[in-house]
Amino acid sequence: MLDVNAARKDFPILKREMAGGRPLVYLDNSATTQKPQQVIDAMSSYYRTSNSNVHRSAHTLAEEATIGFEESREKIRNWFGAGESRVVFTSGTTEAINLVAQSWAKVNLNEGDVVVLTEMEHHADIVPWQMLTSEIGVELRWVPFDLETFELDMGAYEVAVQGASLVGAVHTSNVLGVRNPVEQMVELAHQAGAKVLIDAAQAAPHDRIGFDSLGADFLALSAHKMGGPTGIGVLLINEVAFQQMQPFMGGGDMIREVHFDYSTYQENEHRFEAGTPRIAEAIGWGAAIDWLAKWNVESIHEHGLELARFTADSLRSIPGMRVFGRQADGDGAVVSFLHDTMHANDLAVMLDAQGFAVRTGHHCAQPLLRRFDIAATNRASFWLYNTLEEASAFVEATRDICQRYS
């Protein structure tokens, strides 16, 4: 059992009072999670005691900064089971996907080569590939999902990957919460000779991802959705794919030697990390992983799913309410919903006035919402510090607003 009350104590922001002295009920965890005191302290301590640049000078502070930074890389490598693979720091999931597009796809793909995407993708896994359609002429193939069961059409997937060079697939949908059968998707793609990039941004806070055992070629995720700071993420890369990549950003730290007429590059991960990296953020992320390690991730997953199921079922009992998602085993702790006559923005503003933070809008997945013929939803998403009381109060506030104002 997850000790939710013990976990809550580590998050100072949860003590914040909102308008009218109401408690904060934070249900926007899929956008970003709150940060435990341990992460805040680690970053603050780094700036107070060790701030310096990494991989450069011979002084004590530089040594401490470098050790802290590289230790975090190892924590991330271990946490995500990437012992045999490469861990390249990026600014987040979006930059990690763009790194695959710029440093792998642009180097290895040609006009007419096929990139397969699912209709559940976040804009971050759509737009970089659309850019390559005009830059190098790659062709995009879309894998649909069922509007009733919210499941990816695996028959269509199996056909789409034939002759494809790359598959880009979201592990867990940020809108529907659906966890895709990524293991099967990797296997089918590899049988067809395609590489696979997994967007694991939403899976990172709920799932123990084993990158090497999953066997994907690339996996992108962000620190800030798992208790870590904003502004940092990683691209995990298997060794074969790593050797096929060329840096697209040049600058300090990524080079071995620079001459007036040519340069040589580092051979390790630094090759793709030009410029001063996000040192405090990496150290904060390491602290988030140390903190998460105190809890049982399977319990975090079960707890979030229990809240999501309760919320989805309760919302369905509100007349005129539509819920998008299935909350099946393995799915994320996400509930997207939309009322027939209550505008999503109005509902969110009214909820906010009572201390409830939920997301409203297209969730950076406009093509997915268009499949349902809608432009926006509200979304409640949970993490380990949310309680059943919060979920219940949120549902009742929503029911009350919809009854009185729609």
Partner: protein, 150 residues
């Protein structure tokens, strides 16, 4: 000095001054939004059939439409509607504020009344309620009205 016929902070038209007072006396944000929901019902509603590309307010998270005209006394009159009740409430307040004014007065009117009503948090760029876009469109269309007049 409050003349009751002005167009800016400290000197709002009487109908608007009364609305501002109601809002400032509201208990909290929740009550202010409830008042907006009620006001939304009072606007001279532009029916769905009259929503066109020309009436649409751009840069608004909701679908909002406005049409300007003159009332029987030749004063300014605003009609509007939105799928969001909060946005339609803001249109209703704007309509009351501007009702019967001359085009020159409309063009000089300050949008700062929403701040005085304690609603500015609903109007941050993040919320994208598009109030300022709506207000700008009202003024632009009012200018065209003047063209028709003269």
């Amino acid at each position: 000095m409050n003349t009751g016929v002005g167009s800016g902070p400290g000197d709002w038209p009487e109908a608007l001054a009364a609305i501002i007072e109601d809002f400032t006396e509201a208990f909290d944000a929740k009550e202010r939004y409830e008042m907006l929901f009620e006001l939304a019902e009072q606007v001279d509603e532009l029916p769905l059939e009259e929503w066109t590309a020309k009436t649409k307010v751009h840069g608004c998270q909701s679908e909002a439409h406005i049409m300007v005209g003159l009332n029987e006394n030749g004063g300014f009159h605003l009609r509007g509607a939105a799928d969001s009740r909060i946005v339609q409430g803001l249109i209703a307040i704007t309509a009351s504020a501007l009702e019967g004014l001359s085009v020159t007065q409309v063009r000089a009117f300050s949008p700062k009344f929403v701040e005085e009503m304690g609603l500015s948090s609903a109007l941050s760029p993040n919320r994208a309620n598009g109030f300022l876009n709506m207000f700008k469109k009202v003024k632009e269309e009012a200018t065209l009205l003047e063209g028709q007049d003269g």
